[in-house]
Symmetry: C2
């Protein structure tokens, strides 16, 4: 039940156990923590497979791990031992929610755990629905996006760098947990939820019509470089070598772009020549190369600052391409209330992002990530009633750390 009415911590009072590694489930747990839940990540002693993942500091501390485990508590225990499994089972039963991507373990399966906690919410992320393994980069290869990403003249696949499926899967996982919490509040019943990473990718590609157009029209998307499919959208380069992305979704955007680039008459003449109606977004897409040829001259003749000033005075959607280092050092990060200074042991002080959804104008900020096992003794004492003597015995037996 909700214990406090704090609108920016709506999940306060909810306790969740996370047994995870890599991106999707850690992101889910962190998101739920940002919403106010107490999230206890349980790891093997020494850390899970993601504990040393790059990027790392000069001393070898994982910046990556710190980034995806902000605001959690950490318990470290030997989950290969019967006593370690028993502790974790009791912790899950006491908490009432498990999120995990460690699939197929009988000891923390839905059937086993609901004998201890009948109204358990059990959310399991797997690679594929058939039980097969898969990670973002293999799943992505099998969906179709790499074959249409990158310059049109390229034949080889181009992988994404953002693990987009992991990210989507992580947010779906958080959504599943909150939906199940609300359902349990109302009905008293728990739920068994499974989210195969591959199905997240397949559903998304399907929702966005990438499969449907093949089924219905018998053709599939081609590689079109940096053009936006079905709209007028294209990248341009300034006289001093800076790239810009331009999108004209509406006739007003498109008219403004022509006006800015002093091509209104040339665009009209092109429409006449081609018999094209540029008030139709499809026509703007079909003839994008001719249009880009016209617009490109203006971009090539102006500096980045001139282009930015010009575009700012129009309705055109645009952005200057930036590197991660430029963004990290620029106002989108340094002057954005989404980010706040975080002192992260092992990593140092940095600007850490909060939840991107703002509640009543506030982005719920994140606390630092825990040291591995930092909360083991406290959590076992608080929720399982372990005494100091119990903790000492478990520690000397190497069951906890």
């Amino acid at each position: 039940m909700v214990q406090t009415p704090n609108p920016t911590r709506p999940l306060a009072g909810v306790r969740i156990v996370e047994i995870s590694s890599f991106v999707a489930v850690p992101l889910a747990g962190m998101t739920l923590a940002q919403l106010g839940a107490e999230v206890i990540r349980v790891d093997p002693i020494g850390g899970a497979a993601d504990y040393h993942r790059w990027p790392v500091t000069d001393d070898g501390d994982s910046i990556y791990w710190a980034g995806l485990n902000k605001g959690k508590r950490s318990v470290a225990t030997d989950m290969r031992s019967a006593e370690g499994q028993d502790l974790v089972q009791r912790l899950i039963a006491s908490s009432g929610v498990l999120v995990t991507n460690v699939a197929g373990r009988e000891w923390h399966s839905y059937d086993t755990l609901t004998r201890l906690r009948p109204d358990l919410i059990h959310v399991e992320v797997s690679g594929r629905a058939d039980g097969g393994t898969g990670v973002d980069y293999t799943v992505n290869a099998g969906i179709g996006f790499p074959m249409v990403t990158g310059p049109a003249e390229l034949a080889a696949p181009v992988n994404h760098v953002l693990p987009a499926w992991d990210v989507a899967c992580g947010i779906y996982t958080a959504l599943a947990v909150v939906t199940a919490l609300r359902h349990r509040d109302a009905t008293g019943r728990g739920q068994r939820i499974s989210i195969p990473l591959e199905n997240v990718a397949l559903a998304t590609a399907g929702n966005l019509s990438f499969f449907t157009e093949a089924m219905v029209n018998g053709n599939a998307r081609e590689r079109i470089g940096n053009s936006v499919y079905g709209q007028y959208g294209q990248d341009f380069t300034s006289s001093n070598g800076v790239s810009f992305m331009i999108v004209a979704l509406t006739w007003r955007h498109f008219r403004d772009l022509a006006e800015l680039t002093a091509t209104t008459k040339a665009v009209a003449a092109l429409a006449d020549t081609l018999g094209a109606d540029f008030t139709d977004e499809g026509e703007r897409f079909r003839h994008r190369e001719a249009l880009s040829g016209l617009f490109g001259e203006w971009f090539a003749a102006h500096t980045a600052d001139e282009i930015a000033a010009g575009l700012s005075a129009t309705s055109v959607l645009w952005e200057r391409y930036r590197t991660f280092a430029e963004v990290a050092d620029g106002p989108k990060v340094t002057a954005n209330p989404l980010f706040s200074r975080l002192q992260q042991p092992g990593v140092g002080e940095y600007l850490a992002p909060a939840l991107p959804a703002a509640f009543d104008g506030v982005h719920p900020a994140s606390a630092a990530a825990p040291a591995l096992g930092a909360d083991t003794a406290d959590v076992l004492a608080e929720y399982l009633g372990c005494t100091a003597a119990d903790i000492a015995r478990l520690t000397s037996a190497n069951t906890i750390a």
Copy 2:
């Protein structure tokens, strides 16, 4: 309140009004509909800016629109007229939840609407937190990913084809709605939630360390083609020209890959020569080119079928690159319970994806998308008490359609 205990329709009984276009908010509304909510998309007469978006059928019906509005009801009204605005305000007040990406309209602002419905849940997606405009492709340009995507020798930016920020933003929006519903159930209070698309991208890039490594280590990610950063992951091509993505996250995966490609001794010799310890994932990443040179010979000497058979017998994570058309026609779609046959007026019959999260083993399936305005009269009668005479008058005044 939850009216039915159907575990696969946990949001049954919730009614949501959506005023939207494009991807993020339509995806949010569809996701909430898949979870059992009644979602009423309200559009201008003739459709919003996304109503004709590509891909389209030969007859010009938008496959895209049908894909992102499955299972909703549709109301069409003239939202520039005072009477149209009044109808929509009353519908929102009666429903209690608004999701929208039409930002900055006073008549459906939080302040205006909470005078009619004090416990309203109001979720607004905007381009940027500062009120500026932005769409996925412009936001993405400003974050940093296009500068590190694609072949290492490339200097130009490479855009993603998947609108990953829209997708993430849409699922965050659904998460925000359900979180606020649970909070309202418990406290009786509504919420004002804002989700800037750019902040979704910034938070995600930040959570995944892309900014943090620049802040902490003073360096930023380089363009590394299809390699997986910090791990051993690489694409290879078979003797018959088929591409495969290979990922070895663990020492076991890596050892299996060496064994399959008959390079165990060569890898050991390479480790000796380089003084490298390949049990360390960072070392496998650092020396990926030398390793890929060794493994690549085996791939180039075998057909795609031989490679698939060989990899299947190992722990290595792998996938064959596929085109959208191949996926649409293959068992990942045609033999996957995630997909079910949907008869979509205007588009035809196709295999449509359900929610990728399965509740008690069931992926909640989607109904067809509505025809624009198909539910206007029914919704106004059911929730605003409009009579047949009211509907006739509003129709002849062109206030509804």
